[in-house]
């Protein structure tokens, strides 16, 4: 394995898995349009190990949380068009908070509530909880109930080991802004329900954090047609 540095620590495998999840989640946050430093995204395993492991080599997940602010481009994309009643609308996106859950046996209501409360107390518009184990059914419910105020997402470490968008067969997905979507529907004289669909639970939709009603542009390279774009509505 490429990330095997020959260390004999029993935590080695766990640390390298965590490092992969760390990279993917940073790439994901950056791909969504948040501002992140290049050296944070591309942190090598050795640097990660020295920064986030305890003396015995075990990973310290509680230290791995980070936040990010939306970039100017993202703010522009998520700002609704000005209207007469609201001439200077505020962008619909805000800072994001990412946390790695240290819980390793099971995640119940209390853990989830604490995370949600932290997000809303610090006025984060979005929160991502990366967990080692699956959530309980009721914890999942807490997540959806409170999602009106703060958008909470959950990812398993296991699902973040590879960045799916880097795969050769996954075409580029680009989220359209509100004006772009309106222009698209006008250009092709479509109702939005006439667009092909993509499920919200689709791995790519989850990666981009798509919400119901948003449209992604999918750019494929075709051997015969060069580049070719299609559009999908998130349902």
């Amino acid at each position: 394995m490429a990330d095997d540095f020959g260390s004999t620590s029993i935590h080695d495998k766990e640390v390298s898995r965590l490092w992969r999840a760390w990279r993917t989640i940073h790439e994901m946050v950056a791909d969504r349009g948040y501002e992140l430093a290049e050296e944070e995204i591309k942190m090598p395993l050795e640097a990660f190990r020295t920064k986030f492991t305890a003396g015995d080599g075990s990973p310290n997940r509680s230290m791995m949380s980070f936040s990010a602010r939306p970039s100017a481009a993202m703010n522009k994309k998520f700002t609704p068009p000005p209207t007469a009643s609201n001439p200077d609308p505020a962008p619909e996106c805000g800072p994001i908070w990412v946390e790695f859950c240290p819980e390793k046996s099971s995640i119940g209501i209390s853990v989830m509530k604490k995370f949600v409360e932290h997000c809303s107390a610090n006025a984060y518009k979005a929160g991502i909880l990366v967990t080692a184990v699956a959530l309980s059914a009721q914890a999942r419910k807490v997540m959806t109930v409170t999602s009106q105020y703060t958008l909470i997402e959950c990812f398993l470490e296991e699902d973040l080991l590879v960045n799916i968008t880097h795969h050769d067969l996954v075409p580029t997905h680009i989220l359209l802004s509100r004006e772009e979507k309106a222009a698209l529907l006008k250009r092709y004289r479509l109702k939005e329900t006439q667009l092909p669909r993509i499920l919200q639970k689709d791995p790519i939709a989850r990666y981009l954090g798509l919400k119901r009603g948003q449209v992604v542009k999918i750019v494929r390279t075709s051997e015969t047609a060069g580049r070719y774009a299609s559009y999908r509505l998130c349902v």
Binding site: G108, S110, A137, Q138, V142
Partner: protein, 306 residues
Amino acid sequence: MAASPPPNAPPKSILKKTNPPPDVPSALELTGLTRAQAAQLLTLSKKELKPPIPIETFELLSASFPSSTPPSPDDVSLLLSHLPEFSPSEYLDLIDERNCLNHCGYALCSKPRRNFPGKVKIRPSGVAKTADLNKWCSDDCALKGMYIHVQLEHPSYEWVGDKGEMKVKIRLREGKDKEKEKGSADELEKAVAGLSLDGANDDSDKKGDDAYQKKQQAGRLAVERNGMNVDRVEVRIGEKEITQLPTAPTFSNAQGGESDAHLMVEGYKIGSKGKKAKNTEGESEDDDDDDFIPSIRVESLNYGKS
């Protein structure tokens, strides 16, 4: 040549004649229901479709519950008041939620759950997944916990209050030690007491007002059944007196001493029944004829002679 239209006529449209668009039927009309029926359906669906258990209830019953060891009567009544609302899957969620906090899955147990290593464990009763075993602190708790789940899965309802609401009846399973103490006869007696309508004979563990309520309910039920509270016919059940010692049947005294009497069941012999019955029937018919015809002959002869 065509006559030109009269000068006063309005210009004629060259477009196709279209019928005025029909009124778009509302969703209500489409379903074919009257407004009253729709309202009724709505209230029914609200009543019948159970709202999900609020997350606060899960928190209440999972975090630091029960409040004392052994559980106080308040804890038991709190649990019993909430349990009928649970669906079977929500009850499993509750076990899950308690397990997340490392508690035993049985809601009235304050011990931590056990922690068997590995994926499966071989037990006297067979092979079991450790994930299932580790939900509880002991097998006893597992039985008690799943006893509730079974009652939620196959609910039996009881009437509660004056409004005539139906509620799932939940009973708690007695612990192993208690069962031994009391014995199964006591259990049975208790079960029978629970079945009877008037709470007169189970005042051992019920409060006075509870018994009174039950009596009232019994009265209401009687009125519902009979139309009014009538006196019933008194029924006495008497014991049949046996004056002599019973004797065992013997071959000689059964069925007139037939040799295959021991094969007879209530006068019929098993196996050869159909065949034999036919034969005897035929014979008897023949006999009847024989008896009938000669008697006439004899009579006629006698008549002629005299």
